[in-house]
Symmetry: C2
Subunit: 343 residues, 2 copies
DNA sequence: CTGGGTATTCAAAGCGCTTTGAAAACCGAG
DNA sequence: CTCGGTTTTCAAAGCGCTTTGAATACCCAG
């Protein structure tokens, strides 16, 4: 059932039918009702491609996944972010499209996505320091939003981010206040912008307290469970092991816990742990009592907001750049406690 | 830059340019090269919507996420499956589209997706027992593939699944062979088809060994970490607690481990645990030595295969139904051991 | 040279929708 | 009645591509 057929059934022109269905004012109310009824009855749905062709809009938002980040798509954080975005898209009648592109041709992918008219805008996830994708998109003059920011890129662009620096600074300060001096940071991959900021926060707190950071207590890698486990196992072998640990994600924190338990240490008593909690659905930080003391910020919510901001941008390409900085909350659980003298 | 402009530059008709670019045989080789060069030079990309409109193909595969399964999109299992599918799509020049739809209008969503020409096929994930979506799609006569199967639906349809029954039967048998009698099953949501099959496997092994299953040792819910934790805490309070546990996912197994450790029990010695391992990227089951003895099957691989099967179906709508049953491997780690007499 | 086949190229129609510019229908005031 | 001004409806053009059916160019046997 297409527009032509429907309009023939109704004995009206395609113009009128189209307008009636799209809520234009210049159509008689009686006609509109009649048209709507017929459309419902015959289950008419406008062909999305034809519509897009005519309007120049695709009503699709693209998410490009670099092939390199083999885990990206799969990263639970990514998943929750996307789930949030999906919610907004559904509400605003947008669709979400994923493209897998080799890193070498990432620019090409974006260009192709837009010039082929496949999407109206894109979401850029996981920005690195000096993220090259930002200038690519910026030069193309297309609507996009960055989840995170990129140090070193001074173009104006829309972004939404959590205040990583402040939240890690606070967490570190919290540990310092509990008497800890040997604080380890189990960070995400160093090239990622968020990791950089978290480290800065951590460093800032240490320095303010007059401590010299120990490189042996600083690690960075992709935030898996194994990584958290392995790192803690290694660090416990140091002559002067940490008395507190900051983990960049709940997933790694699970590994941290495994390592501690295997070594007969009790979190909160023998060693303190703070994790960054993105509020992942499948890995909640406990129920009533948090398992981990944590810096908490819903990545799902960030996804919702990012999508909203992007859609606004699409509808008003010339508005000044927007940004949104979310503050993480520090929730105190049982994984932290006053420093304990040498075990 | 569109086809018309490009053909004007070249002094050729749109027909010829289009054919040259699409590899039709009836175009002179010299011309083809000239056209290709000009296209590259000017960065011409055919408009995907116009192309779709003309060919009737969208080159898009849809994944519909029921709103109800709040976690679905976020479910790490889902993520890995989709990552696998994405890989295949990229290879075959398909795109992947997600739609979030309220459960009440799931049928409508499918209908709309196809009748609006938005997708060429869909992947149905997380089928329940008597899954109604299958007959909806089947009646619509559109290409689709089910990840999993649905007991109670006897229409023919394409599916790919892991042999859940056999793998849980083997795992249970393995525990029985180690001398366990009190074996708990921490299963997924009962309405899910896979959970049903896993339970059947578990029951079959128990019955064959002549044991009567104890309902107190059987739980089902969404497979979160908390769920695994809570369930084990509860079961340990029984007069006659289990000596072995079967967990339906690594995520829940992490919770199981937490509960055991909190209760001072050591996996493999005091109590045996087998988990089902979908080989999630962010939650690997250890490195060299598996953390958990597990029934292992890559859900990512399943995603790749599902996508391939679906694309085949799209290209040959009248082929007989296809299916693919993957066998899970039983990998033995340190979480299982001979039964221990009352603690 | 010429005719008939083959290799190339082309103009135009069509995919299903929106939108422009014009026509028709309707209205109450004069 | 008639007329200017609203409403309401319409025919047709256009979005950018593929594809059909026809035309032209080319080639070699006769």
């Amino acid at each position: 059932m297409n527009l032509k057929q429907l309009s023939e059934i109704l004995g009206l022109s395609q113009t009128t039918v189209s307008r009636a269905l799209n809520g234009y004012p210049e159509v008689n109310e009686g006609t509109r009702i009649r048209v709507q009824a017929a459309a419902d009855k015959h289950g008419y749905r406008p062909n999305i491609r034809a519509k897009g062709l005519a309007t120049g809009r695709s009503m699709v938002i693209g998410h490009v996944i670099p092939t390199s980040s083999r885990h990206e798509m799969v990263n639970p954080i990514f998943g929750d972010f996307v789930a949030g975005a999906a919610r907004t898209y559904a509400e605003k009648n947008y669709n979400m499209m994923f493209t897998h592109a080799p890193d070498t041709s990432i620019e090409d992918s974006y260009r192709s996505l837009f010039s082929r008219g496949a999407v109206d805008g894109v979401v850029l996830q996981g920005p690195k320091v000096n993220e090259p994708r930002i200038s690519v998109l910026s030069n193309m003059g297309v609507p996009f939003i960055v989840h995170g920011r990129s140090t070193g890129v001074d173009l104006p662009y829309d972004w939404i981010d959590v205040n990583n620096q402040r939240s890690f600074e606070r967490a570190t300060q919290f540990l310092i206040d509990l008497g800890h001096r040997r604080i380890a940071l189990i960070n995400g991959l160093e090239e990622m912008d968020f990791a950089q900021r978290r480290r800065n926060g951590y460093m800032a707190a240490l320095q303010r307290a007059g401590f010299t950071p120990d490189p042996a207590l600083l690690r960075s890698a992709e935030m898996t469970e194994i990584y958290g486990y392995q790192t803690v196992c290694d660090m416990l072998k140091l002559d002067d092991p940490p008395t507190a640990i900051l983990a960049s994600s709940i997933i790694s924190a699970v590994g941290v816990r495994r390592a501690l338990e295997e070594n007969g240490l009790k979190m909160g008593r023998d060693i303190s742990v703070i994790a960054h909690d993105d509020e992942l659905s499948y890995m909640r930080n406990g129920q009533d009592v948090p398992i981990f003391t944590a810096t908490r910020s819903s990545v799902r919510r960030a996804g919702e907001l990012a999508a909203e901001m992007l859609i606004e941008r699409i509808n008003a390409p010339d508005d000044p750049p927007k940004s949104c900085l979310l503050e993480a909350e520090l929730v105190v659980g049982n994984s932290t406690g006053p420093v304990r003298q040498r075990l």
